[in-house]
C-alpha cells in the first residue's frame, strides 16, 4: 500500500493536478504540481506528505514573499521539463564556467534586474539549481569589471572600511587596482 501511494505521488497524472502554495504575505498561488516540483524543496514536501497531502489546504512557504515567488514560478513554468544543469569549473584557475543563456532567460533577468539578490535567495531556499546558478552568474556579470565604488552604489552597500584598512588590503594584495 505504501508503495502504491508513493507511486501515486510521482505519477504523471499528479503533475497535472493543482496545489495551493501560500507565501509569507498570505498570498495563495494555485500551481500545477509538475511546475512546483522544479523546486526540490517543494518536491520534498510533496514526497514527505505523501498520502496525507491535502492539495486544497496548500503548502506554506514562510521564507518567500509573494512578488518574488511569482517571478520564481515564471521560471519554473519555462523550465519544468529542463534537464539538471551541470556546474563546471576550470580545473586550474577554479573559475566557474559561464552558462549560455537562452533569449528567454536573458529577457527574464533583464526584467528583474533589480531583484537579483532576492531571486538568488529564494532560489537557494527553494532549491532550484538552474535559477540559483543563473542568477549568481548574472550577479557576477554585474560585478565584473566595476569598481568597488560602483558596486557599492549598485547594491546599496555601506562603505564601512577605513582608509587604513583599504591601504592594508591594497598593500597585501598587489592587484587591487582601485
Amino acid at each position: 500500500m505504501a508503495t502504491e501511494s508513493a507511486n501515486g505521488v510521482s505519477s504523471p497524472e499528479l503533475n497535472e493536478r493543482d496545489v495551493v502554495i501560500t507565501t509569507n504575505d498570505n498570498r495563495n498561488f494555485t500551481v500545477k504540481i509538475g511546475v512546483a516540483r522544479v523546486s526540490k524543496t517543494i518536491n520534498n514536501m510533496i514526497q514527505d506528505l505523501g498520502e496525507s497531502l491535502d492539495l486544497s489546504s496548500g503548502i506554506p512557504l514562510p521564507n518567500v514573499d509573494g512578488p518574488i515567488f511569482e517571478k520564481v514560478l515564471e521560471w519554473c513554468e519555462e523550465h519544468k521539463n529542463a534537464p539538471e544543469i551541470k556546474v563546471e569549473q576550470d580545473p586550474h584557475t577554479r573559475e566557474r564556467k559561464w552558462f549560455t543563456m537562452t533569449e528567454w532567460e536573458e529577457e527574464y533577468f533583464r526584467k528583474f534586474l533589480s531583484h537579483l539578490w532576492d531571486l538568488a535567495m529564494a532560489a537557494n531556499y527553494l532549491e532550484i539549481p538552474s535559477l540559483y546558478y543563473y542568477t549568481c552568474q548574472k550577479l557576477a556579470e554585474r560585478i565584473k569589471g566595476r569598481t568597488p565604488e560602483q558596486i557599492r552604489e549598485m547594491f546599496g552597500i555601506e562603505d564601512d572600511l577605513t582608509e587604513e584598512e583599504k591601504a592594508e588590503i591594497r598593500r597585501t594584495n598587489v592587484w587591487c587596482t582601485y
Partner: protein, 523 residues
Amino acid sequence: MSRLPTHIKIQNEFIEIKANSIENVVVEQSKYNVWNLTFIVEDQSYFGKIIFPRNYPVQAPNIQICTTPNLKEPRKLLYLPIIENWKASCTAKEVIKATLNVMKELDQHLNLFYLTPGLNGLQIDILCDILKFLDGLNIDNCSLISKSWKNVIRIYRKILPLRKIDVLVIHQEYNTNNLVVRIFYKTYPRCMERKKYDSSYFYSSMDFAGGEYEELVKIPDFYKTPGKKMNKKSSIHIPEDNHVKISALQNCIFDQIVLDFSDRVSHTRVDFRKLFDLLVDLFGKLVEICGQKIKTIRLDDGKNDNLIAYTSSLYPMIFNYVDADRLHKNVLNEINLIVSNPDCLFNIPNPPTHIELSCDKKNVDFLDWEWEDFVTGFDNLVRIFDCLIQSQRDVSRYSLLANIVDPRYRLDFCSVLVTFCEKVLSVFESTSEPGNFPSQIKIYISQGGDYDQFLQRLFDRRGNLDKKSIKQGYAKGIKFQRSDQWKITFGLTLCDREPREHAYNPSEPVEHAYKLLIKIINP
C-alpha cells in the same frame, strides 16, 4: 598496509571523539545510519551533520550545517577549506573543529545565514557562489567593497578562483644585490635582444621583445646582513610601499617560474654567492606557496664562471623538492593513515612536474665576442649533465636545453659534440637505473657543420649497445638499445628557418639551423 573497513574507521573515530571530547560540542552517532555523525554546539547555536561517503577517508565527507536546531534536518552544505583540500589523513574530529572555527570566524564579523546590512541581505554561501563565477582580478577588487565582503573573501579565498599568470621571473636587480621578482602576463623572452641596450635603463629592450611585466617584490641584500632589523613574521622584508608581500602569490596560478641568472650587461659581474641564501629562501618559499600550481621551473644560466658554482650549489635545494614530491606520491597516503598528527606532513610542498634547465649561451653579437665564451656556454651543458648524473637521484623530471651559435667554431664543434654524445652514451650504457636520466637533452646548433660525419662517428662508436640508423622526413639519427629494452635516440632535425622578428618562441630560436634531440625511451 591494509586499511580498516570504512565503517570501522568511522566507529573508531567516533569512540576517539567520545573519549577526548571537543569543548562545548556534543557529537552523536545516528542509531540507524553508521555513515552519519551529528554534532551540536552546547549553546545550541549550531547543529551540524557529517555524512561520510562509502570510500571515506579517500573521499571527503559532506558537512551540513544549520543554525536553528528546531529544523528536522540540516540542509545547507558548507564550504570548508578542509573539505575542498581533502587529505586522507584528516579525521572527523578535525572536520568538526574546522567547521566550528570557520563558523566562529564568520560569527565575529557577521551573523551567519541571517540577513546582515553589510551584505545587503545576501547570504554568505550565495556570495561565495557569485564570486566563483569571477576571475582572480575581480575577486581581489571586491575585497575593497565592505568589511563583510572582505571577510567572506578572506575566509573563502582558498576555494575561490585563482589569478592566472604566465611567467614569474626571479633575477638580480641591475647593479645591486637585490633580488627582483617580476610577473609576466605574456611569454618571457628567453633570448632577449640586447642590441638596444641603454645604460639608463637595464630593461629597455623588454617591451621590444614583447614582454609585459609587473614588478612584484624586491628583496634587498641587507635583509641577510646581521645587525639590521628584520621583520620576524615574514622572512621577506618589503622596503617600499609599491612592493608587496610574496604571500599574495598564493592566490595565483603560474605556468612557469624562471630563475634568471644571466648577466645582462657586459661590465657587471654578478656575485651569486652573495645572493645564494636569499635565493634559496625565496625559491623555497615560492614552491611552498605555489606548490603544485606551477607547471615548470626554468633555470636560465648566463656565461659567468661564478654561475657554474652557483647553479650547481642550487641543485641540491631543487632536489629536496624532488624528493618531497616522490615522498608525497608514494608514501604520503600510507603514512597519513599511520600517523595521527597530520601537521608534520601537511607542509611538504608539491614541486612542479617538469623542470627545464637551460644552459644557454646568450646572444653574443652585442658583446665583445670572446673565443672562450662559446666553450663556457657549452661547458654549462656538460657540467650540469654531470651534476645531474652524479646526484644519484631521480632526475627524469629534468630536461636540458642549450643554444649554440658559433659560425667560427663549427669545424671543431663536431668533435666537441661527439665527445659529449659519447659521454652520454657511456653513462647510458653503464647505469643501472636508466630511468634516472634527464628525460631530454635539446641542443640547437648552427648551420654548416658536417653533421653527417657527426652521426657517422657516433654510429661507429664501439660498445655493447644495439644500434640502428633512423630516418624520418628531414630528420635522421641513431637509436641505441640496451639489452633490457631501454632505448636512447639521437635525432638531428633541420629547424624551421622562417625569420621572425618580434615573436620569440623560447623553445625554437630562429638563428639555429639544426636541433639535436637526445631522448630516453622507457621500455
